[in-house]
Symmetry: C2
Subunit: 199 residues, 2 copies
């Protein structure tokens, strides 16, 4: 069992988030045959870990064991400096059961106001994990730094993208074309590391 | 950056547990130059994750980033079937700040009595993680099944070894010579996977 991903390998993508699944497919760019965890009827495990890497590992492991396929999982989120890194691993949970990110972004804005913060620095983190059934798992992490901007702008991304302006840019991730975001995002940077390790 | 461990590589061993450090050194059998995290004055990170793999990852990542060296960490513990897998990731914590495993083993026995359990099945799990500074991490898990036996017997191992009789054997891990335990232990089984992946 060598730690190599052969081109064309069949991978189960351990996410039930359509935005993430789409972006992973874009970034992987036809290198693999992707199967969604939902298509296989895999359950969504509870994300009990306290780090992005831990949750990516937990999701990939669960999907690999349940499917017998090599699994790829992403755990990602927005960390705000003035909020001590919140929402962080709770980024999705701040959007509630309806995955309402307008609500989640309003919550970030309200918390910054309450804190009287004038530092709007933030960063996105993406942990990617590839797990082999019964075998090892490889975990990498990518990060992109930027600044929050309110009100939200753009509808091209997902999650907190409309309030995040990456360093050195004027557009939010929500306003960028997918190819532009995929060239600099946390997820793309994690994938560069994964590629260096496994391809 | 290929996911390979070259023989003779310098590895920092991210454990402050002397028993684990000794066993890892035995299992690695001179393949690498091992440096203890304590020797480098690395802090012991808080084990905040809810799985063995997550905690191994957290410890290896922290040691790799703090030292700039490739890091190896182990997170391991005893799970008792009749106690719903307890103490599990809390195995070391059941021994208290003084790492008093006589106390921890007595607690296991008391809990089994309280529960009126007649199933003494248990298993040891070891998660091993190798992390590259700024780079990927590889995680594997090994397990050995067995039966608990009271009172504790033998002083050759550490932790819960004196109450654990591996399947198909009569001696506890505490009574076995290191070479015998290292031939079948959870840690050795995890290492076989790690070796297959990285060596």
């Amino acid at each position: 069992m060598a730690l190599k991903l052969e081109p064309g390998a069949r991978l189960v993508v351990a996410t039930h988030n359509p935005g993430k699944a789409r972006e992973l497919a874009e970034i992987l760019d036809g290198r693999f045959e992707l199967v969604a965890a939902g298509e296989l009827g895999l359950p969504e495990p509870e994300e009990t870990e306290q780090t992005f890497c831990g949750n990516a590992l937990l999701k990939a492991r669960a999907a690999a064991e349940a499917s017998g396929l090599i699994a790829l999982a992403d755990d990602s989120g927005l960390s705000v400096a003035a909020l001590d890194g919140a929402p962080g691993i709770y980024s999705a949970r701040w959007a509630g059961p309806d995955r309402d990110f307008a609500l989640a972004m309003a919550k970030v804005e309200a918390r910054l106001e309450e804190a009287g913060a004038d530092d709007f620095s933030a960063w996105f983190t993406s942990a990617l994990c590839v797990a082999w059934p019964g075998g090892p798992a490889v975990v990498v992490e990518g990060r992109v730094d930027g600044t929050l901007s309110f009100p939200p702008r753009g509808d091209k991304g997902f999650g907190y993208d409309p309030i995040f302006v990456p360093q050195g840019h004027a557009l939010t991730f929500g306003e960028m074309e997918p190819a532009a975001k995929d060239g600099m995002s946390h997820r793309a940077r994690a994938f560069v590391k994964l590629k260096a390790a496994l391809l």
